[in-house]
Amino acid sequence: MTLAYLSEETVKAVMRLGADECDVIVAQTNSISVEIERGSVKQASSSIDPGVGIRAISGGSSGFAFCTDHEPASIKKTAELAVSLAKSGTADTDFRGLPHPSKPKTISGLFDPKVADMTPDAGVEMISRVADVTGDDKRITSVMAGLGMSVCRVSLANSHGLVAEQELSSFDVFAEAVAHSNSTMFSGFDGSSSRRLDLSQLDSAGLSAREHAINGLRQTKIETGDYAIVVDPLAAGMILADAIGGGTNAEAVQRKRSYLTGKMGQMIGSESITIVDDPLLQWAVGSTSFDGEGTAARPTTLVDSGRLSSYLYDSYTAGKDSVESTGNSSRGGAVWSYRHPPSISTSNLVVKNGSSSMDEMIKESDGGVYLRVTFDHPNLATGEFSGLMMESYVIEDGALGPSIRQSTVGIGLIELLSRIDMIGRESKDYFGVRTPAFRISNARVAGSA
């Protein structure tokens, strides 16, 4: 029985139970992962995860249920639950209907058969190589690394006759090195995610993790004050995924929970900043030919030369604003999940490259700070960001100096975007964001000196 047949038949069953509309996702994800701990292969894992997620609509109310197999008896019970849950919710006249069939673009770079053909043995060989590269320095005292490979087949059908299928693959690698020198300890990490088996990422993740662990051993403290900050793509990806991805979420905007509410058409950043949500990028982990409701995927410019130009919509929020869905209903990222109802998310957020080299940005920021890692989230209601600079460096004499111990950075998000005065010309992908490094002319840093 094909996944498409199963999804279509399940739609019919849900409608027979009295739903007004419904959509059904049938998915199966097969995964292999391998982990290194302290330089030694520690664990290899495999999983097979089939399941069905059913969303039933009744009077605009949405009920969702899932089961963890493709068995007819489970699907029947799940369908009954979804319909019954929909009927127990409140009527919602803002719901204008699920998408009608549209022709998804055929895009390349969603599925790499080499990922599907990977064996645990090959994974162990690859991750051992990553560990060897990462640990190749006497100051490195411990190496952690991991490799994950998944293949997901998915079929999505709805009660308007929409049936869409796709096969997705993902390949992730990360490396972390711990370095010691006398009583000082520091760690560096790097990694990458792609839909293809990209062997070049193995060495580069290991090299980068090793370099950053060692670079961080030389440490200093700085005083509280205002500093120019060069933001590495790793930190930029973390901040922008929320600041733009979360801030332009139409649900948050319509409910007046986003700092970008009411700012459509206004300047929210410097003229040099353009940010696009692009689901059609070859091999990028957020790429897809259709979104989690079956709407054909397409790029959406969110920030156009500093001006807010669109929000991210699914069918519900688009109906509420009487606009077209931007195709940003998500069922997960690299691989799709049947376990959650769809919700609005970015696909791949892309920051347009600038013209500055990394050297130029650093040379222009003498006395400033280079921020490589933060794991903080902005407050999307207030539009303020305050976070730990987990890995950062002083910029002195036109180069990166010692790493900064215990410091935080705080800035409003619109100020952050508006104070970007240099943008790099080379991008990297982190946290679903393809971005170059950029420079913020001025931000408040709290130091421990």
């Binding site: 701990e37 030694s40 292969v41 520690k42 664990q43 290899a44 894992s45 495999s46 999983s47 097979i48 995860d49 969303r55 109310s61 949405s62 009920g63 969702f64 249920a65 899932f66 963890t68 197999d69 799940t78 019954s84 849950l85 929909a86 127990s88 919710g89 409140t90 919602d92 645990p120 162990v124 060989e125 411990s142 952690m144 972390e176 711990v178 300890m185 520091f186 760690s187 509280t224 409910r255 007046k256 509410t261 376990r339 794991f375 903080d376 407050n379 209601a381 303020e384 305050s386 976070g387 730990l388 987990m390 111990r405 215990q406 410091s407 935080t408 950075v409 705080g410 408040r444 709290a446």
Partner: protein, 464 residues
């Protein structure tokens, strides 16, 4: 399921696993989200499956299936053993899993009203009431989110020591977020309750009041200012003290981080790592808590762990592997998010014990500083020795009096320094809100707690 479990373990050991274990789960749950007076989605989760783990020589294999037939479980066991052998072939560190005691028990977590026996309509009504309770407080509350979650599951844990445990696990959780708007200013407040147990928890006054608490916080924050940046003496409230216990120290005490060479606490047992008055405990046996469990996910009985006693580092949290490799008894700290994830070392209910100061006296005794209240989130990198956490609100302390209200302060610190800077613990200990801790892609339900605690020289990140 118990019979299937034993046959699967026998199959794994027959194929060459030196140790094997598994977790079979069959669970159901409900999630109801109400936004701005309407249900957003009413969700039911029907989940079942098994994760089999096999150990060979110094490496683990782990295999997951959603199919609980004997045929599928045997295949999962074969895959786990094959994975373990593949990993072991390149493992540089060899070790053994010390044979442990076989445990046999059936545990039924206390539950007066099974969530599955409460109608969805009643649950929806409860969440709608929470939502209304926020909106009704003040017209400045412009948007609301109310949420209810429940879980009922049977978990079988079996291993090649002969352990066979059946746990009937039930928990419920309610949470509210409110957004207040005044002119151009938008602020958010939130509050939650949750515990192991049944629907009876949602009938308690505390649960019914979470909407009001969230809305009042959002309204309070409307006249707050961005937090100042710099070094401050900070008095943390019970919630933030708990978060500090968890982030600043708890994670660094997880023995897997120690064996990975990724914790600044490696080799420091018996050393002074905090002020004399600090005792830090992780205790999964706190009744009525969100982090409660009686046996861990490897089948080891849970127990109270004193990690720091009077400022001295006393021990770490262990699973079967770390206890075997470090030569001490296992202490039952392995948890899995679900059958699809291998067990890893996790905290449960983590807290700093109370002291002697009266809370008001502690504030009056502080010439200048910040009172830090409520937690948004926190994180730590034990290998860098740094942590941060973000509060909901903060108050300036001037000459022992509370002043200006601030929002969104982030506090950062160094693991080996922060608890040495504690200069006062209040006598108002309490366990606080339920939460989820993330580690290695897995989520675990936890609770934190402590008294009000004064710490000198905390770096506070702010915008001004």
């Amino acid at each position: 399921m118990e019979d299937l479990a034993q046959k699967t373990i026998e199959h794994a050991t027959g194929l060459g696993a030196q140790f094997a274990d598994l977790r079979i789960e069959d669970s159901q749950g409900t999630n109801i989200v109400v936004m701005d007076g309407k249900t957003k989605t009413v969700t039911a989760r029907l989940s079942k499956g098994c994760g089999v783990r096999a150990f060979v020589g110094g490496a683990w294999g782990f295999s997951v299936t959603n199919d609980l037939s004997l045929k599928s479980l045997r295949l999962a066991a074969e895959s786990a053993v094959r994975m373990a052998k593949v990993a072991e072939s390149r493992a540089k560190i060899k070790f053994e899993i010390e044979c442990g005691k076989a445990e046999h028990a059936t545990e039924v977590y206390r539950c007066d009203e099974r969530p599955g026996e409460i109608s969805v309509e009643e649950k929806v009504g409860f969440v709608m009431d929470l939502d209304k309770s926020m909106k009704s407080i003040n017209p400045k509350i412009t948007s609301t989110n109310a949420r209810y979650d429940d879980f009922e599951g049977i978990r079988i844990v079996a291993n090649s020591f002969g352990t066979l445990l059946r746990t009937e696990d039930t928990w419920t959780l309610g949470a509210c977020s409110a957004w207040a708007k005044d002119g151009e200013v938008i602020q958010r407040g939130h509050h939650s309750v949750g515990s192991v147990g049944g629907y009876e928890l949602m009938r308690q006054e505390d649960s019914i009041a979470i909407g009001r608490t969230a809305a009042e916080q959002a309204l309070r924050l409307l006249d707050s200012k961005p937090a100042p940046a710099g070094k401050f003496t900070c008095i943390l409230d019970n919630v933030m003290t708990g978060l500090l216990a968890h982030e600043a120290f708890g994670h660094a005490c997880e023995a897997d981080a120690i064996l990975q060479g990724a914790s600044v606490l490696e080799g420091r047992i018996g050393e002074k790592v905090a002020s004399d008055e600090i005792s830090l405990i992780d205790d999964p046996r706190v009744e009525g808590s969100f982090g409660y469990f009686s046996y861990d996910w490897e089948g080891v009985p849970s127990s109270k762990h004193v990690l720091i006693e009077n400022g001295i580092l006393k021990g770490f949290l262990h699973n079967l592997e770390t206890s075997s490799r470090m030569g001490i008894p296992p202490n039952g700290s392995a948890r899995s998010e679900n059958y699809g994830s291998p067990p890893i070392i996790r905290m449960s209910n983590t807290y700093i014990a109370g002291g002697d100061w009266d809370r008001e006296e502690l504030i009056r005794d502080t010439p200048d500083g910040l009172l830090i209240k409520g937690a948004q989130y926190g994180y730590v990198e034990p290998s860098k020795g740094q942590f941060m956490f973000k509060c909901d609100e903060a108050y300036e302390i001037v000459k022992g009096e509370l002043g200006q209200r601030y929002r969104d302060a982030s506090l950062s610190g160094v693991i080996l320094e922060v608890l040495g800077h504690v200069s006062g613990l209040a006598n108002d200990f309490k366990m606080t809100d339920p939460g989820y801790c993330g580690k290695h892609g897995q989520s675990a339900r936890t609770t934190d707690g402590g008294p009000h605690m004064r710490i000198d020289e905390v770096v506070v990140g702010g915008l001004t």
